[in-house]
């Protein structure tokens, strides 16, 4: 796969502590890269810098081998979808979609064909005459994605596009986005603070913290081998424990409970979370440990049982 977007030494400071510094990032053709991090980590700043909405202090942004960092947004071949208020409320779906095509002076027949094709891709055909106010939040975001795609952007930028939607729709939209990306062969940069969302849709995740890249890698790589304690804490569930003076981390699914009278842990609570069960066990010092287990296995345990824990996979972090 060839390189689609290369960012070299990008710096954008709003104040001494606020902003991003010396960011290096490569996005490959047809890849979906997620910038993941807590709010204020600079993920949106990077996205807006790529889209041209922030003038950067220094660094280079190369898209398809061309430097774009000095171009205004209207001259960049990127398409952006925002968190909300994406569609122009006074225009119909069709007018929203046609807006950019009119600027590019496409013929009416051509425009109609392209818009129809895009609406089919996002499964919203038949909604041409509706106004944004008549659509649900999820439908509006589909149209917003279609409106960006109809202009054939070289790179699609999504700024927390699903965070205003409720959980169920959000899940559906993730699958939709994945499908659209596959069918249209898109390169996408996706910004989110939701680690579950990032794990679900990404080819590559870049975990950010306070303006820096903490770790870049495939979702499973980041989940299985987090480089820092921050990444370990931020992605998925993690127990931080101490044994014999050394501290280590264990994922809840990497712990096996063993029934043992006078065992060092006592089960505080069993909670069924659908397809698996979560147990919280506590030692005599009051340290709580979270354990995930299969439903069948969970039937063998009850609250107040004394147990021992077997840690199948420990990880150690420097800081």
């Amino acid at each position: 796969m060839s390189e689609k977007l290369v960012i070299k030494g990008l710096t954008k400071k709003f104040s001494k502590t606020d902003g991003v510094e010396n960011i290096n990032l490569t996005v490959k053709e047809r890849e979906l890269l997620t910038l993941l991090g807590p709010s204020g980590c600079g993920k949106t700043t990077i996205l807006r810098a790529i889209g041209g909405f922030h003038k950067i202090d220094s660094g280079k942004i190369l898209l398809d081998g061309k430097e774009i960092q000095n171009l205004p947004p209207e001259k960049r071949p990127t398409g952006m979808v925002f968190q909300s208020y994406n569609l122009w409320p006074h225009m119909t779906v069709y007018e929203n979609m046609a807006f950019g095509l009119q600027i590019r002076k496409h013929s009416k027949a051509q425009m109609k064909e392209e818009i129809n094709e895009m609406l089919k891709l996002v499964r919203m055909d038949g909604s041409e005459k509706k106004y944004p106010g008549q659509l649900s939040g999820g439908q509006q975001q589909r149209i917003a994605i279609a409106r960006a795609l109809v202009l054939k952007p070289s790179l699609l930028l999504l700024d927390e596009p699903f965070s205003a939607l409720d959980a169920k729709i959000r899940g559906q939209m993730r699958e939709e986005l994945k499908r659209i990306q596959r069918e249209a062969g898109l390169t996408v940069i996706f910004v989110t603070h939701d680690q579950e969302e990032a794990m679900a849709i990404s080819d590559t995740i870049a975990v950010m913290r306070r303006g820096y890249m903490e770790q870049i890698g495939k979702p499973e790589e980041i989940y299985d081998n987090p480089k820092t304690r921050f990444v370990a804490e931020f992605i998925g569930e993690m127990n931080f424990l101490e044994e014999g003076g050394t501290s280590f981390a264990v994922r809840p699914e990497d712990i096996t409970l063993i029934k043992q009278e006078n065992g060092p842990y006592r089960i505080l609570q069993m909670m069924s979370l659908g397809h698996y069960t979560q147990a919280i066990v506590v030692d005599n010092k009051g340290n709580e440990v979270k354990v995930f287990m299969e439903k069948d296995e969970a039937r063998l345990f009850a609250a107040d049982d004394c147990v021992a824990c077997r840690f199948d996979r420990k990880q150690v972090f420097a800081a």
Binding site: G51, G52, F53, P72, P73, E74, K75, T78, G79, M80, F82, Q83, S84, Y85, N86, W88, P89, H90, M91, T92, F99, G100, I103, R104, Y131, P132, G133, Q134, A144, R147, A148, L151
Partner: protein, 282 residues
């Protein structure tokens, strides 16, 4: 009698004070004025009071003068305040924040104080004239006792007022509306015309009608800064009452001014009632 029925009269009781005041100071005087405008001093029916204003050259000149002044004030105030509101909405600089806090200040200065202050600057022996004299330049602005003076002073009051209305309207234009338009390759001019204007034009009409109607009945500013002839309708009315003591003619003029303002009211109500398709169900 059940509980609900017992308290049926409470809403009426709450409306009554406002309603009584309305009747007393608005409806009754209007009816009285309309009646008086069709009467002679002796009380018999006549159209002479109206005839006077349609045949008198002075009255006609004053009408033209008032309309030109009102329309100019409206256009200039809307233009300046729209630009100001756009700047306040879309600039994130410190200057914009400071102006954002200060621009309403003129509204808090008593009208007459402000008018005298402006007069002291622009009159022929005022600040501009004296300041330039320091450099040996003799310049008389010629703004006072002229339509230009009236317009200038009115802009002082109307720009902040209309900027306030338009700022509120512009705050409904989300950043992402503008940013997605730029992303689609749209120029600033086109964004203004196709994205911002359709979302705020109704409020511009509302601000414009308010300004226009205010000018039809304006008194303080034209009285202090305007010329003797032709004059604004407000001054003409004042003269009918206080100089000529011709109450019937004053009543007729009042009715005429009321009819002009009614036009503004119709435009205002129409633009407020008209709901675009996209606004339905909001």
């Amino acid at each position: 009698m059940n509980e609900e029925k017992k308290h049926l009269w409470i809403p009426y009781l709450m409306v009554l004070p406002a309603f009584a005041v309305m009747m007393l100071v608005v409806v009754l005087p209007i009816l009285n004025t309309v009646m008086q405008s069709f009467q002679t001093e002796g009380g018999s029916f006549t159209l002479e009071n109206y005839q006077y204003f349609f045949t008198s050259q002075e009255a006609f000149n004053s009408l033209v003068f008032t309309v030109i002044e009102a329309v100019s004030t409206m256009l200039l105030a809307i233009l300046f305040s729209f630009l100001l509101a756009l700047y306040l909405r879309f600039s994130k600089s410190r200057i914009s924040r400071v102006i954002g806090r200060l621009y309403l200040l003129p509204r808090f200065i008593p009208g007459i104080v402000a008018v005298y202050a402006v007069m002291n600057i622009i009159k022929d022996a005022g600040f501009i004239n004296r300041f330039l004299q320091l450099f040996g330049i003799v310049y008389k602005p010629g703004l006072l006792y002229d339509m230009k003076g009236i317009i200038l002073c009115n802009l002082w009051f109307n720009i902040p007022f209309s900027a306030m209305l338009l700022s509120a309207a512009l705050s409904s234009v989300a950043d992402s509306y503008v940013e997605s338009a730029r992303d689609a390759g749209c120029s600033w001019w086109k964004i203004l015309r196709q994205i911002i204007w359709p979302l705020v034009y109704k409020d511009v009409i509302v601000a414009a009608t308010f300004i226009l109607m205010g000018q039809i009945g304006a008194f303080t500013i034209p009285y202090l800064t305007g010329p003797n002839n032709p004059k604004m309708l407000g001054i003409l009315l004042y003269q009918q009452v206080n100089t000529y003591l011709n109450y019937q003619r004053a009543a007729a003029l009042s009715v005429l001014m009321f009819i002009i303002c009614l036009g503004g009211a119709i435009v205002y109500i129409k633009s407020n009632m008209k709901e675009e398709v996209w606004e339905k169900g909001k």
